[in-house]
């Protein structure tokens, strides 16, 4: 991709970075659910009480 101005370059790269952050955050939620899926529920006893 060719850029004619610094604005073009910044617009493109920042845009890609924001898309990356969005995808990263969504992936992180999935990763966190995978990581903590089998953790014991520390509040389970309190809810039963």
């Amino acid at each position: 991709m060719e850029f004619m101005t610094l604005h073009d370059f910044t617009f493109w790269t920042k845009g890609m970075a924001y898309v990356g952050m969005g995808l990263g955050l969504m992936a992180f939620v999935a990763f966190w659910l995978f990581l903590t899926d089998r953790d014991e529920d520390r509040f389970a006893d309190k809810e039963e009480e």
Binding site: T13, M16, W32, L35, R38
Partner: protein
């Protein structure tokens, strides 16, 4: 501590013989270095002034000693008391790590006897190197004080031990601040060389990459050393350390997986901000992907599965991969991808003496660590100070 009676072993075990040989060669090379100059033992030059003594001994040494601030922050700042037994081994490793970083620096500095100059005679407060020097000097002092209770307990000096123990919280806060500053500044040192460092490794966010990656590096070293201690120094550990070791491994594995995942995403954002996508399809790109996938994503997933399945062995192997990954990353930035445009004959290749001195320093550090773990109350509580932590 379990009191097994171990049969008396000969001092000259294969491991000790290899250690003695390495130390002997290292001492000879040390004499050569300090009597005949740097050029007699290295390929360093004005064109390539930083070699493996900086790339490995310093950059990797500081990153891998990050277990001290991560563990003490987790326990004393975030109140995770279940990891308390990991604090003293982590502080010991960090203290020795930083002490040997400074020791290794003596070999690399042309006028090593001027090491205190930046702090006393010629301060350069606008330089990142000045900040690194100041922080390392202060943090080494903090670590020495944090480590000292083990010595006071062994000497049974109760008053000074009590005094130093009272400083724990303030020292931890000070240690975290100093670590945040110099871990990131080590990366920031390379901001001055955007034309020398390959674009895939160069980023305006190098400082952040160095700091973020130091966290899993430190956590992995705690897991790695915990695993080794559990295997080889089992008899030195008391009930508390043995009971908490599993929780420490799995808890740190979970934390390391989260930070590695964040680091993986941040590295891609770095590629996006530099618009370096096309470089990924070159030979350098393949090497970059090898580092990023093989030594960041893979250990991240290994840690995640280990924490999920409560698999300590997998966490131990993940710690090895992570440590190797940190070493690879620091060497890539300081040596491999540095001056990447130069023809091969102009590139720096370490002399065998440089490699041997590095091996000597690492061996010496391990020997001192072994001595400390055997002689000081690090993996167990001193009988006279039980519950005084």
């Amino acid at each position: 501590m379990s009191h097994h009676t171990t049969p008396t072993k000969s001092f000259w075990t294969p491991a000790n013989i290899i250690t003695a040989v390495i130390l002997l060669i290292g001492l000879v090379l040390t004499v050569k270095r300090f009597t005949m100059g740097i050029a007699s033992v290295s390929n360093l030059s004005d064109d390539n002034p930083w070699g493996i003594w900086i790339g490995f001994d310093l950059l990797c040494g500081v990153a891998l000693a990050a277990g001290g601030y991560t563990t003490s922050a987790a326990v004393y700042l975030f109140g995770m008391k279940q990891y308390h037994s990991a604090v003293r081994p982590a502080i010991t490793t960090a203290f020795l790590g930083y002490a040997f970083v400074v020791f290794a620096l003596m070999y690399d500095l042309g006028r090593y006897y001027r090491l205190p100059y930046p702090l006393t005679i010629y301060p350069g407060p606008t330089s990142f190197l000045f900040e690194v020097g100041l922080c390392v000097a202060l943090y080494l002092t903090v670590l020495a004080i944090e480590f000292s209770p083990a010595v006071w307990e062994a000497l049974r000096w109760k008053k000074i031990r009590h005094l130093v123990h009272g400083l724990t919280l303030i020292l931890t806060i000070f240690g975290v601040i100093l670590s945040t500053l110099h871990q990131s500044s080590l990366g920031a040192l390379y901001l001055i060389a955007p034309s020398k460092l390959h674009p895939l490794w160069y980023s305006p966010y190098l400082a952040m990459f160095f700091f973020v990656s130091s966290i899993p590096a430190g956590l992995s070293m705690v897991i790695f050393e915990g695993g080794l201690s559990h295997k080889y120094l089992h008899h030195k550990m008391d009930e508390t350390h043995l009971a908490e070791s599993s929780g420490v491994t799995l808890g740190f594995a979970k934390a390391a997986s989260v930070v590695l995942f964040a680091y993986f995403i941040l590295k891609w954002i770095g590629v996006a901000l530099g618009n370096n996508w096309s470089l990924l399809f070159t030979g350098w790109g393949a090497w970059f992907l090898f580092e990023l996938i093989g030594f960041v994503l893979v250990p991240c997933l290994m840690y995640a599965v280990a924490a999920r399945e409560k698999n300590e062995k997998l966490a131990f192997w993940a710690s090895i991969v992570t440590v190797l990954g940190i070493v690879l990353n620091r060497l890539n930035i300081s040596l491999v991808a540095f001056n990447w445009q130069l023809p091969l004959e102009s590139r720096y290749v370490p002399a065998w003496e440089e490699i041997m001195i590095t091996v000597f320093i690492v061996t010496l550090e391990i020997t001192v660590l072994r001595f400390c773990l055997h002689k000081l109350p690090i993996l167990h509580e001193h009988p006279e100070f039980k519950g005084a932590h």
